[in-house]
């Protein structure tokens, strides 16, 4: 007996309420974007400059004492948070200290790190600095720029690739789904105020890749079924294609989530934000390939008459393989 996530034959009707689904997605996007605009992201030092120090001590972290110890150094805005993680030992107490970018110079000076260490050592004897990272304002500005360009470039390239392999309606549908995923991910990071750093950009791009993977598999089947069932309406073809690929969609999502969840639980706190973004992205990406990408395709319509030469629409690469 096989484990089956989805019955052998399914005939869910995904498109009876497609306007509702699109509406919900649009609403979520607005909420996410509004949160981003109003509350803003909790940017890490990669994007706004400054210094983070990860401290480790055998005594419990007393945030107040740390703060008092550092007050004399007049470093401006200092944030101290204790870090908890199941992978830590019993006598391992970790805190993250974030210091705003300093007026003079770019990266923090070695002398200043020494002073901070001395000050903290008085408050918590034997404290160790596990990592010190400092990014000057000049670089952080460029990193923001590069990150935005990278995401835009990825979406742009994908648009072109799908347009070449399918038709422009497919490309628009896929890209709408990608934008949806990216905005919802940024939205949840803003809503929950999770630290947003360079690694999250990598996660965003992976989500773009994953969501696309899903969308392309559905679209591939749509393309095939459009040729096979010339009489069926577009909604019927879409529904059939999604039902046919549903088993695969679920299998892949579940195996990927299985891997990601184990990394989330066991992979340590350094990487947790990154993995969280991916888990969220896999869920949102799976949803969007059905309820956003395909729904947009339904809304835009597809040219069905394949008997006439249509070489001008840009799908002339559709048959290069298979």
């Amino acid at each position: 007996m096989r484990l089956k996530l989805v019955p052998n034959e399914t005939s869910f009707d995904f498109f009876s309420k497609w306007k509702l689904w699109l509406g919900i997605s649009a609403l979520l996007m607005v909420v996410g974007f509004a949160s981003f605009l109003i509350q803003g992201l909790n940017y890490g030092i990669d994007f706004r400059g400054g210094t983070t120090i990860r401290t480790e001590s055998t005594q419990e972290v007393d945030v107040g004492a740390y703060r008092d110890a550092m007050a004399a150094l007049e470093l401006g805005d200092v944030t101290i948070t204790e870090v908890f993680d199941p992978t830590f030992d019993d006598d391992e107490f970790v805190a993250m200290i974030r210091i705003q970018a300093q007026e003079e110079g770019e990266a923090i000076s070695g002398a200043m790190i020494g002073q901070i260490q001395t000050a903290l050592d008085a408050a918590a004897p034997g404290i160790k600095f596990e990592s010190v990272e400092s990014v000057g304002p000049k670089v952080s500005g460029e990193l923001v720029q590069t990150a935005v360009i990278a995401v835009a470039l990825a979406i742009g390239k994908v648009l072109v690739y799908i347009w070449l392999r399918f038709e422009w309606q497919f490309a628009l549908g896929a890209v709408a789904a990608l934008v949806h995923d990216v905005i919802l991910t940024i939205g949840i990071f803003s809503e929950l105020q999770i630290k947003f750093d360079l690694a999250i950009i990598a996660a965003l791009l992976t989500i773009v890749g994953y969501s696309l993977n899903d969308t392309v598999v559905v679209f591939d089947r749509v393309r095939e079924n459009l040729r096979k069932y010339k009489k069926k309406s577009l909604a019927e073809v879409l529904n059939l294609s999604i039902n046919e690929t549903l088993s695969r969609t679920m299998m892949t999502s579940v195996t990927t989530l299985l891997a990601l969840v184990s990394l989330y639980v066991l992979g340590g706190d350094v990487i947790r934000g990154f993995v969280f973004a991916m888990i969220w992205g896999v869920i949102v990406g799976t949803y969007s390939s059905i309820f956003v990408a395909s729904a947009i395709l339904l809304y835009l319509g597809v040219k069905r008459d394949w008997t006439k030469p249509t070489n001008t629409t840009g799908n002339q690469f559709a048959n290069v393989d298979a």
Binding site: R2, L3, K4, L5, N8, R54, G105, E106, A107, I108, G110, I113, G114, K128, F129, E130, V132, E133, S134, V135, G136, K138, V139, T146, A147, A150, L153, A154, K157, Y161, L198, I201, A202, L205, T206, V208, G209, Y210, L212, N213, D214, V216, V217, D220, T245, T252, T255, T256, L258, A259, L260, L263, V265, L266, G267, G268, V270, M278, D321, A322
Partner: protein, 553 residues
């Protein structure tokens, strides 16, 4: 139907075996690392029984490439430095000044007397007493210009000379500035590399980034501050004539001179000539030593031309002081007692042994042509790195086992085939990483875990397709065949699009993000290979042997 040519089968297995062989050293990381180091030392420093023994820990006929561990896993320091390219302009002008002076002296009848004026450091401003002779002065100074030696600046001269009233201004031309900047960054890169090599840490990464930046990554070093001490010091050594000594930092130095502080004696300032007699560039050697009083000092030796200039200068200036200047601070200012012909000498000062050793290293490696400004620095402690490796290992194993069980439950025998392919896949990723000398970072481990999840996707696509074909009443062989050929376009499209994002990540990202892009990209390639070649080959071999009437997927 279901035929795979023999040469294809051989090729597929060969690729797998080669990949696994390349990956194998990583399973014995420490041992192979030690063996590799010993093998290098054997070549560099000669044979000793210990080195031979260590080198033989790993057979030499086996591949010995290892996956580099990124800083976030191994611990170490990362610095991004910006070269202050403008520093060089002032030095160029100071070096040009004696030449200008010598060229204009014979022209005094036409231009009258001339004096260098205070002005921006990257210019020479001259005031001449007979403005009507300006055209002659311009002509003479322009005669000193030389063509720019770079491709883009071809045809342009290195200096720009202009006049307004009785002031003549000399500065570097834009073309020359561009060429100079490039040279400065390349020299800085070379000197940073030499200094780090002198200290002798393993596998540092030192590379140019953009027009004027240098990225430095040194695994295993305690902190970025230590690293900065080694590479952040300019170590510009000059031997300059002393004009006067005083205690006023704002003393009027006069044109062509400058006021600089003493290194050890607080409140003491020296006025020295900006154009040095000899510079650190003429040094051929510097070694830590002790002076006659047993205090730490640095011995140095000049090359022939440096020795001659130093000898001539000391012969002509017996009785007057000269300054040994390091990075615009006077280390010492002895009075010249006699002609020093041999071209060697000693630098004394209030050094500790460590300082004199460091100074000798810096002088040997050469001075940085310009200062460095640090834009970004990261220190990762080795323990944090080890924690991350451990956590990553556990997570990968759990993810792996979860996926294996899940696939077997879902697809039975075919799931097992996919599992073998998945294990092979991980091996191939490590093999490929070792082959290209890629770097494994913490996000890179996440990339591998993600690949574990996604690698089954191609197999799932095929198996689902085979199921459908079986459901449509096809025979087993036909269903398998159709399943593969029909799933191919979806597999390719899906993976190419993900690959595009991996490429963009690689191109735009840096450090850990790039590590993620590498494992993701390699993972996509190996997973497509294992899914459409390896699993298929296994299924075909199984089918050939068993010839089942019905199959269940």
């Amino acid at each position: 139907m279901l035929q795979i040519d023999l040469w294809k089968r051989v090729l597929i297995w060969l690729v797998c075996v080669a990949g696994l062989m390349l990956a194998l050293p990583n399973a014995f990381y420490t041992r192979v690392e030690q063996a590799n180091d010993a093998a290098l030392e054997l070549v560099a420093k000669g044979e000793t029984p210990e080195r031979l023994a260590v080198a033989e820990q790993w057979p030499s006929w086996m591949p010995s490439g290892l996956v580099n561990l990124g800083l976030d896993l191994r611990g170490g320091a990362h610095l991004l430095a910006e070269v202050q390219v403008e520093d060089v302009y002032a030095a160029r002008m100071d070096a040009l000044w004696p030449e200008v002076r010598d060229a204009l002296r014979p022209e005094r009848s036409a231009i009258g007397t001339f004096r260098r004026q205070q002005g921006p450091e990257d210019q020479i401003r001259l005031k001449i007493s007979k403005p009507e002779g300006m055209s002659r002065a311009l002509e003479v100074v322009r005669g000193l210009a030389t063509p720019v030696t770079s491709l883009t600046g071809a045809g342009a001269n290195d200096i720009e000379v202009s006049a307004s009233g009785d002031i003549l201004t000399i500065e570097l031309s834009d073309a020359e500035k561009l060429a100079t900047d490039d040279r400065t960054v390349r020299q800085s890169l070379e000197i940073v590399r030499r200094r780090i090599d002198e200290v002798g840490t393993r596998e540092p990464t030192i590379q140019r980034q953009g027009a004027d930046r240098i990225l430095i990554q040194v695994p295993g070093i305690g902190s970025a501050s230590e690293l900065k001490e080694i590479i952040g010091t300019t170590a510009q050594l000059t031997f300059s004539p002393v004009v006067s000594r005083g205690s006023d930092p704002d003393a009027n130095a006069g044109a062509g001179n400058k006021v600089i502080p003493s290194l050890d004696e607080g409140g003491t300032y020296y006025t020295i000539e900006s154009a040095p007699v000899v510079t650190g560039e003429d040094l051929v050697d510097a070694q830590p030593a002790f002076d006659q009083n047993g205090r730490p000092a640095v011995n140095f030796r000049f090359n022939t031309s440096g020795a001659r200039r130093f000898g001539d200068y000391t012969a002509e200036n017996i009785g007057s002081p000269f300054a040994i200047v390091l990075d615009d601070e006077v280390v010492s200012a002895p009075v010249i007692q006699s002609h020093i012909p041999g071209g060697s000498g000693i630098i004394t000062g209030n050094f500790t042994i460590e300082e004199s050793t460091n100074l000798a290293v810096l002088l040997r490696a050469g001075a940085l042509p310009a200062g460095l400004d640090f834009l970004e620095e990261r220190t990762i402690g080795p323990e944090l790195g080890q924690d991350s490796i451990d956590a990553g290992k556990v997570a990968t194993v759990v993810a792996f086992v979860g996926v294996l069980v899940f696939m077997t439950l879902s697809y039975g025998l075919f799931g097992l085939f996919a599992n073998v392919a998945l294990m092979l896949n991980i091996g191939l990723i490590f093999g490929a990483l070792s082959l290209i000398g890629g770097t494994l970072t913490l996000p890179g481990i996440a990339g591998i875990v993600l690949t574990v999840g996604m690698a089954v996707d191609a197999n799932v696509l095929v198996f689902e397709r085979i199921r459908e074909e079986l459901k449509n009443g096809r025979g087993p062989a036909r269903a398998i065949d159709e399943g593969y050929s029909k799933a191919l376009s979806a597999i390719l499209d899906a993976n190419i699009t993900t690959f595009i994002t991996a490429v963009i990540l690689f191109a735009m990202g840096s450090g850990p993000v790039r590590g993620f892009a590498i494992t993701l990209g390699l993972g996509i390639m190996t997973s497509v290979f294992t899914a459409i070649f390896v699993t298929r080959l296994m299924i075909v071999m199984w089918y050939d042997r068993r010839r089942p009437k019905t199959i269940e997927v």
